[in-house]
């Protein structure tokens, strides 16, 4: 199996907020991880466990204090690698005075999608995220769920090989859950790799192939979802058990 994310002994220690203090915080510690092409990989953990730090280290937004991180065979310092990844942050924000299509045109320009191809590309993406009728609407007029879908649209605009989703269900209603889940399943069917970070265990259960648990800055377990379901019967039971066990760290 081809590895698309490879992390070896990655540690991130945040510098103190005030230079005269010595209160360093450990975001992640000695994390080893391998994510393979075509899988949906779920990252679970309590608040403050280090999930977002790990995702930021993978995306190159934070530099690891020690250890190695390889994405799609390179590093995120490389523009060619970044052109093959997509990222949806939790509760994405877009300027409210811009139109939906203008936001996507901006990202299409950055991705280097030729002007001539942009119109069709943006039309298709808006169709995928069910925002076609909102192309000319201002972002400020969209509901939270629609803004989330716009976030998803910019993340898949470049047809990424690797998609990072940070709490993609955050702020959505039950129908939004289903629509977002359907899109994720669709992308998965196209053979894309998805790195998925969520608190909503029911959704993780429905889309992930493998699941990992972070606790107190450590990645304490990685298991195939099928094995979890076989052994524990539900993801919730597995998660609570693993975190309780991990509390001894």
């Amino acid at each position: 199996m081809e590895t698309v994310i490879e992390v070896k002994k990655a540690t991130k220690i945040y510098r103190p907020l005030d230079f005269w203090k010595n209160d360093r915080t450990t975001g992640i510690e000695n994390v080893d991880l391998a994510v393979y092409r075509g899988e949906v990989f779920g990252l679970l953990g309590l608040n403050g466990a280090g999930k977002t730090t790990l995702m930021k280290v993978l995306l190159g937004l934070l530099k690891p204090t020690s250890g190695e991180v390889a994405i799609l065979g390179g590093t995120t310092n490389d523009i060619a690698v970044r052109s093959r990844i997509g990222y949806l942050p939790e509760l994405p924000y877009f300027p409210k005075y811009l139109k939906v299509k203008e936001v996507l045109e901006y990202f299409a320009d950055i991705f280097g999608i030729p002007r001539g191809a942009q119109r069709k590309k943006i039309g298709d993406i808006l169709e995928t995220v069910k925002l076609s009728d909102k192309a000319d609407s201002r972002v400020g007029g969209l509901s939270k769920g629609m803004q989330g879908r716009l976030g998803l649209a910019q993340a898949i605009l470049n047809e990424p090989d690797l998609l990072f989703l940070d709490e993609p269900m955050s702020g959505l209603d039950p129908l939004g859950y289903k629509e977002t889940r359907d899109i994720i399943i669709d992308i998965h069917k196209q053979g894309k790799t998805i790195f998925f970070n969520s608190h909503i265990l029911g959704e993780v259960e429905k889309v992930c192939d493998r699941v990992s648990v972070m606790h107190r800055s450590h990645l304490i377990d990685i298991q195939p979802l099928s094995a979890i379901m076989e052994k524990y019967g539900s993801l919730e039971k597995y998660f609570v058990g693993t975190v309780t066990e991990g509390a001894k760290i």
Partner: protein, 257 residues
């Protein structure tokens, strides 16, 4: 280059559509129109009053435009975390910074152009020559001074941790930029060595915005502005902008989000 253009277009669009910016532009137009009332106070040289007041208003509102446009950017980037979304895309950090700078000075240019147009109409109404090369040169150099200030503003935004601190820093730079030359003249003739060293330090670090103020020279007896002086100011602006943007790109490149 296309990515720099994409960022600048995005910043310009975003700034120009912002309601607060729209209100600022309306105020700017009113300020330009106010020169009409000011000129009534002058019994003679009405055109001179219009030009003096308009140049002052254009620079002031250009400064406010830089502050507002950059405040919107810094707030959205830091508080609403829009920067993370862009930084994971295939764009160099230096390209983003240059695009942002271009977007801000384009917004200022639009605002200054509107005010200049109003000023020219009023000069025409008062019987003056709106296409007087000296007036247009004065407006252009005033804009150039704001371009220098915008480059410093961008540099300061990379080291400031909050929007209020950035606003304080840039306001100080703006005020000192106009005062240092006067302060230097004052201490050179009267102050002690220690004070002179401090003032010299500020004089060379803070951009000298008074260099771009050609207002006093418009009505000078000599014909056009001295070409040597204009070249010197252009060189100063180019150097200052280059150094500020290079430093801003360097610091931004090392940043974590």
């Amino acid at each position: 280059m296309s990515r720099i253009f994409a960022v600048s277009k995005y910043i310009f669009r975003q700034s120009f559509r912002n309601r607060i910016m729209n209100v600022l532009i309306i105020f700017a137009v009113f300020a330009a129109l106010f020169s009409l009332a000011v000129s009534e106070l002058a019994q003679e040289a009405e055109v001179k009053m219009v030009v003096d007041f308009s140049l002052f208003a254009i620079e002031l509102f250009a400064f406010l435009t830089v502050v507002l446009s950059m405040t919107i950017q810094i707030f959205e980037e830091t508080e609403l975390k829009t920067l993370m979304l862009v930084m994971v895309k295939p764009i160099k950090r230096s390209e983003y910074m240059l695009g942002k700078y271009a977007g801000v000075i384009l917004t200022v240019l639009m605002n200054a152009a509107i005010m200049t147009a109003v000023m020219m109409i009023i000069i025409r109404l008062k019987g003056g020559d709106p296409w007087d090369i000296k007036i247009l040169a004065a407006v252009s150099f005033s804009y150039l001074g704001i371009c220098v200030l915008a480059a410093v503003a961008l540099l300061l935004s990379t080291v400031s941790t909050t929007v209020p601190s950035w606003v304080i820093y840039i306001t100080l730079v703006y005020a000192l930029g106009h005062l240092t030359v006067h302060l230097k003249n004052l201490v050179d003739s009267s102050a002690g060595e220690a004070v002179r060293v401090v003032v010299d330090f500020i004089y060379y670090i803070v951009p000298n915005l008074e260099l771009f103020n050609l207002n006093d020279k418009i009505n000078a007896a000599a014909g056009l502005f001295a070409p040597g002086y204009l070249l010197l100011v252009l060189g100063y602006a180019a150097l200052y902008i280059t150094v500020s943007l290079t430093a801003a790109c360097f610091i931004f490149d090392e940043k974590e989000f």
